[in-house]
């Protein structure tokens, strides 16, 4: 039997600490080049092999630039292990641990997205073609679940507005409706009719065009784990988490307010707007406080999840008790 001897790492391959610590600046400088090279590149099958807790298998995203400073949360990010093991994604089961346990069957590539409705250029587009013209951004956002827990997640994505504009929305487009994949083979939770599949969500057009509204393809600098909504999900940080629909296959611009899954399930408890609001209780529990994952006690919930300054103008003159 041959003994295994590790190859020594030549000192020329060791990154100097200073360079390592300045890696963001390096990435920023490289970003311009990266766009020209057809990045963001994550068109591979490696990701499908990723298992919960095996984060290193997730492909790191390259060519990511920091997002606008004024949009970033100051809060320390939640541990990746927690953000990728505690999920609500009923397509894989209703327990928080089900998505991480069962999402291995989802195939995030090849993936295409249909853009339909009130747009000048409708069509079905391959996800990599959809992403190609855009530069990925880091966005650290608070995430507040309607169940009164919260996380802080460093997403990687592109503003939804930039994507929508490419398809020339017409003036009749007042809302944007989204749908998740339906495929019980890939999403075993869909074998039960827990919800009326497909999962549907929607935004008013001004909400969809807001600079905070993100189409995410990654988190923590890597491609999205399947259980977090790979390969493409919405992130609307001032709304309850269920608005941030996962594994999107359809984006439809509409003249009328679309029906959304939780509203269809229980309209009294879950509204179309679903803005985070500590003053409007869920009919069964209080929304005044939340448990930040990683903390034992509860902390007060912030109006519009702390994004009031950026988004309150969207709701001027609206009674948020009526339009919950």
């Amino acid at each position: 039997m041959r003994s295994f001897r590790p190859t020594p790492v030549p000192s020329s391959e060791i990154t100097a600490e200073g360079v390592f610590l300045r890696r963001r600046a390096f990435l920023r400088a490289a970003a311009g080049t990266a766009v020209g090279l057809g990045l963001p590149g994550c068109s591979d099958a490696e990701q499908a092999q990723a298992r919960p807790g095996e984060a290193p298998l997730l492909k790191p995203l390259t060519g990511v630039i920091p997002g606008p400073k004024e949009l970033q949360a100051d809060d320390p990010p939640t541990a990746f292990k927690d953000a990728s093991s505690y999920n609500n994604f009923y397509e894989f089961g209703t327990d928080k641990s089900d998505p991480a346990a069962h999402a291995g069957s989802l195939r995030p590539r090849p993936w295409s997205v249909a853009i339909e409705g009130e747009v000048g250029r409708p069509g079905v587009i391959d996800l990599d073609d959809l992403l190609r013209p855009h530069t990925l951004e880091d966005r650290i956002y608070r995430l507040r679940c309607v169940e009164a827990w919260s996380m802080v997640i460093p997403w990687v994505g592109i503003p939804l507005a930039a994507v929508l504009k490419r398809f020339d929305p017409v003036s009749k487009a007042k809302y944007v409706a989204f749908e998740t994949l339906v495929d019980p083979e890939q999403m075993p939770g869909q074998r039960r009719s827990t919800l009326d599949w497909p999962y549907r969500e929607g935004l008013r057009i001004d909400e969809a065009m807001h600079p905070l509204t993100l189409l995410a393809v990654g988190m923590y600098g890597k491609v999205l784990p399947n259980q977090n909504g790979a390969p493409l999900r919405l992130v609307v940080p001032w709304k309850y988490g269920f608005k941030s629909i996962k594994s999107i296959v359809k984006i439809r611009l509409t003249a009328r307010q679309p029906r959304t899954t939780w509203q269809m399930e229980n309209a009294r408890e879950y509204g179309f707007f679903a803005n985070v609001n500590p003053e409007v209780s869920h009919p069964r529990w209080s929304q005044a406080r939340e448990r930040r994952i990683g903390e034992w006690g509860k902390r007060p919930t912030l109006m519009l999840n702390g994004y009031g300054e950026q988004v309150e103008s969207l709701y001027r003159g609206m009674d948020l008790r009526e339009f919950y």
């Binding site: 927690d82 093991s85 209780s281 448990r291 994952i293």
Partner: protein, 199 residues
């Protein structure tokens, strides 16, 4: 006799394992991303399970003739109360930060909390009066008082159901078991209680 007593102790110890697991897990930080939620759900579900076991003792004796189960009723009932108290304490400490104003608000304004708290209030006097001394002192009234266990079961099942978001499978399964046990109780007793095992 001794082997029976040993078996009884083993059963009680096994039913205390989930509680030990939670304490160990909390100390080791191995309860996952939301340990408080795990502690709340586990203590609540074990309280209900022990209560259902407690309510199953009499039907098992009556319909299956398992008269040696008799002493288990008290143990299961006390286990249910223990888990229910732990369930309440987790809520009081980690969700309400021991604040009586928060507690009052939750009990008054959230119907599922009202139901859960009522279930706890039903169980506590039963735990206190579970001793032979109280049984003797209360006589016939003891039996009537301890029918509160069924009320506690009903309240606990409603408390569980009311919380579910879309998946009712687990609360409905517990409700079905409670319904079955209650139904068995209401069935007319066709034969006399089997004679006490004379072994």
């Amino acid at each position: 006799m001794t082997s029976r007593a040993t078996l009884h102790r083993v059963v009680v110890a096994v039913l205390l394992l989930p509680l030990a697991g939670l304490v160990w897990g909390a100390l080791q930080d191995s309860l996952g991303a939301n340990p408080v939620e795990v502690m709340t759900h586990e203590t609540g579900e074990w309280a209900l399970r022990c209560l259902l076991l407690c309510l199953a003792v009499t039907p098992a004796r009556r319909w299956l003739g398992w008269s040696s189960l008799a002493p288990y009723r008290r143990s299961f009932g006390l286990l249910a109360s223990t888990y229910a108290v732990c369930h309440f304490l987790v809520f009081l400490v980690f969700d309400l930060a021991l604040d009586p104003a928060f507690l009052a608000e939750e009990i008054l304004e959230r119907p599922y909390i009202t139901l859960g708290f009522a279930a706890l209030l039903c169980l506590l006097p039963l735990a206190v009066t579970s001793t032979r001394g109280w049984q003797r002192r209360l006589g016939r009234r003891w039996i009537r008082l301890h029918r509160l266990a069924y009320l506690a079961g009903g309240l606990a099942v409603l408390h569980f159901l009311w919380l579910a978001k879309a998946d009712l499978a687990a609360p409905l399964a517990h409700a079905a078991v409670l319904g079955l046990l209650f139904g068995l109780r209401r069935l007319p007793q066709r034969r006399k209680m089997p004679a006490k095992a004379s072994t």
